[in-house]
Symmetry: C2
Subunit: 462 residues, 2 copies
């Protein structure tokens, strides 16, 4: 077994050289959404493939229906070594408004923000800086031991910031080549500067539009008001029924597949000092709207929701019109967790609506997105190893967190390649990704490299 300590030492001594390489990558203007940068996007892919080759990867730029992918393979020390697929993206967001940048977004440098040394430039955090933490860990292993501790496949995408249209077809066409024991993604953040985080849960979603149809025309409320069905009233009644007084969703079967979060995980979240005041205060609120008796972090990380995203019906202009509308509609989305079945939720919701319709009215349903939640078991070996490795590197113990929104690549890896994903990253909330003056803490870049070295070591130990 290759020793870890000299690898970490090598990373410390070669930080400046790794920075030079990152700066080279950051200078490439790989803005994927703007066709004017197409050639530069391809040059970036070629830069990465060339760099991977210097480490000994069998790397190539692969054409797609959109921007190219970079794929690289490196064997493990043994035929049966663990096999990981590392994913990152090399494209970046546009830089507008340019006048708000303090320096050229494609001329990276080391600066200081609030006494902290940072790497500045577009992509420094999202995701070039992050993906290079992994590449540098591999480079150091190779330099010190002449080998990697695991079998490693690398997949770098060039369309993550512009819709990832090539990703699914590429995974499908190259499933056998890309399949590994599990995936690792470095595109998320730390809890804070001391506390690394592993994202183990991603809520899924069912979204739906419902239109309630009543009379076959708009009616005058003076003539028909009181006798004729009012679709806004029917809709409001249905929506008002969806949550009970304790904030629970009342749709029968809705909570099927929802699991209780382990006590020690909830305790670790409760210890973060992120209560209702801290979470809701910045948006002008104070009262948690979810299920009573649960913390705000549990609400957004580990509990399903029914949210009304838009409602419409009748006269919505200025002034007043005494109309009874012929129809009213709502856009509703359910965030799902754990093993909730999206199709079952959609079916139960539609029945819930139908059961509440007067018999002379009808509901029209339009399905929008459907995606199941992703939840890696809190006691999965890969998670526990990564948690331990990260905790060894950083001042505070690594946290297992969840996220309220979705990260589509994780679902694609699960559904298309049958792999769980380890989501670990070293971004910070103040990195200003997608905004002017993006930065990445120098410490994130350095300790991120060391973190991946530790994680690869832990995985190799089996």
């Amino acid at each position: 077994m290759a020793a870890l300590a000299p690898v970490l030492d090598h990373l410390d001594k070669n930080l400046d050289a790794s920075l030079e390489r990152l700066f080279g990558l950051l200078r490439l203007k790989s803005v994927s959404t703007d066709p004017a940068f197409n050639a530069e996007v391809r040059r970036t892919a070629e830069w990465l493939a060339a760099d991977l080759k210097t480490i000994g990867f069998d790397a190539s730029v692969r054409d797609t229906i959109g921007h190219p992918m970079v794929v690289g393979h490196h064997p493990g020390p043994k035929a049966d070594s663990p096999h990981v697929l590392f994913y990152g993206h090399y494209d970046v967001q546009p830089v507008d408004p340019l006048n708000l940048w303090k320096a050229d977004p494609f001329e990276p440098s080391i600066g200081e923000v609030d006494g902290v040394r940072v790497i500045t430039g577009r992509g420094s955090s999202d995701d070039k800086g992050q993906l290079m933490t992994f590449v540098e860990a591999c480079r150091a292993y190779k330099a010190v031991h002449g080998a990697l501790p695991c079998k490693v496949t690398v997949l770098f995408e060039g369309e993550e910031e512009s819709g990832s249209k090539s990703l699914k077809p590429f995974l499908e066409a190259n499933a056998a080549e890309l399949k590994a024991d599990f995936a690792m993604v470095c595109d998320t953040g730390m809890w804070d500067r001391q506390t690394p985080a592993i994202t183990v849960g991603l809520r899924g979603m069912v979204s739906e539009e419902v239109t309630i149809h009543a009379a076959d025309r708009d009616l005058h409320s003076g003539v028909f008001g009181g006798a004729a069905a009012n679709p806004i009233r029917i809709l409001a009644r249905i929506l008002g029924d969806i949550h009970d007084d304790s904030g629970r969703v009342t749709i029968p079967g809705f909570y099927d597949g929802v699991e209780e979060t382990p006590t020690q995980i909830k305790a670790s979240w409760d210890g973060l000092g992120m209560g209702a005041a801290e979470f809701l205060g910045p948006i002008g609120l104070s009262v948690p709207a979810g299920e009573k008796g649960r913390s705000v972090l549990e609400m957004v990380w580990a509990r399903p929701t029914a949210e009304f995203n838009g409602i419409s019906g009748g006269y919505e202009g200025d002034g007043f019109k005494t109309v009874i509308a012929s129809k009213a509609s709502v856009k509703i989305s359910f965030r799902l967790v754990h093993k909730q079945n999206p199709d079952a939720v959609r079916t139960a919701f539609r029945k819930f609506v139908a059961d509440r319709l007067p018999k002379d009215c009808r509901a029209e349903f339009t399905a929008f997105g459907t995606s199941p939640a992703i939840q890696i078991s809190y006691d999965a070996p890969i998670l526990l190893k990564a948690q331990s490795a990260l905790s060894d590197e950083w001042p505070k113990k690594a946290l297992m967190v969840a996220t309220g929104g979705s990260i589509p690549i994780v679902g694609d890896f699960k559904r298309q390649l049958g792999m769980d994903t380890l989501l670990a990253g070293f971004g910070l909330d103040d990195d200003r990704i997608h905004s002017p003056n993006e930065k990445y803490d120098l410490n994130s870049f350095h300790k991120g490299q060391r973190s991946w070295a530790r994680i690869l070591d832990a995985i190799a130990k089996g």
Copy 2:
């Protein structure tokens, strides 16, 4: 006391002459909403004043801030004779689309529709034909007896179809001159060709817009969904609470001032064959939405309502957006009956909303219209006399009905001049008022004249 029979006989014998006069009035293009017709509107007023003078009225055209009024006074047989104010309007709706008319809208003639003889032309029913039924009744009295049976003041408006902006100031400026024992308005309809109707109840209205404000910005439902207040959910919950399972409005105090309709009046409505199927069928509905145990006619004529006229919030465009809106709003109107206090209803509604708001959200209220209901006591002597007189004239007994909408002039007479109003008219549902090919049944015109003669006779008898 002047005998009624010879007056009715005179009306029968002079029907053709009365038609000639009506045709003269119908030829005048008194479209009040279009300034191009301003001179013609004034000529119409002058025509009416001149005609009233031929009957012995002290009549004049009176300037206003808009189109002129026609006011005429005729003494009664004695100083203490009952005094009635008769109101009608001489302006008409525009005639567009002209190509749908079978004949020139301002060239009246006698035609036949479904075997019924009708007067055709714009204003034949609304309201020139109707107002002339009263004028002809007066003319016949004067011709036969040389006197009217009551003291009569006539008020003809020229802006009823275009907002009546001069009416309130004119009533205010001439209150002493126009005040009578009660008003009579001939601008409503029969129940059917056999059954005359007196409108005794007019629902009032309180209209209001409410906006629920939650977070200080729109939120991503992935990040905040479940924890942050959703104003659409709050609004739906409030609106869903406004009606109970039996269709009753739950706002405390809402029914204060609502009276039970007398049993014999409800029985007369029940006898009309206008059940849920007949009332709701033509608009594609079948299930009454109002309070259980009440007929559809009672719902629209004698019960208050809470109707949602428009609702809006969040993303309402095509497709889907996983947003939690910062606000959502509804336009709500309450139709009031009997002695309900509009201000009390508004106050109770606002409290109802406020009581259901999470403490980190707020509601913004905008008041729109406020008008109390008008309800003439079913046993008021004027009503009973008119009902008896109409029942003598027509094949079936006159019905006391109500209307779900408002007729502003009635409220103005009540509030500004302290008078109740007798609403009786001879229009029919198929008169196509406001539409091409407006008509008035010849029978309505003829028996309408005889009806007013009978009503004046009944009033004079005291």
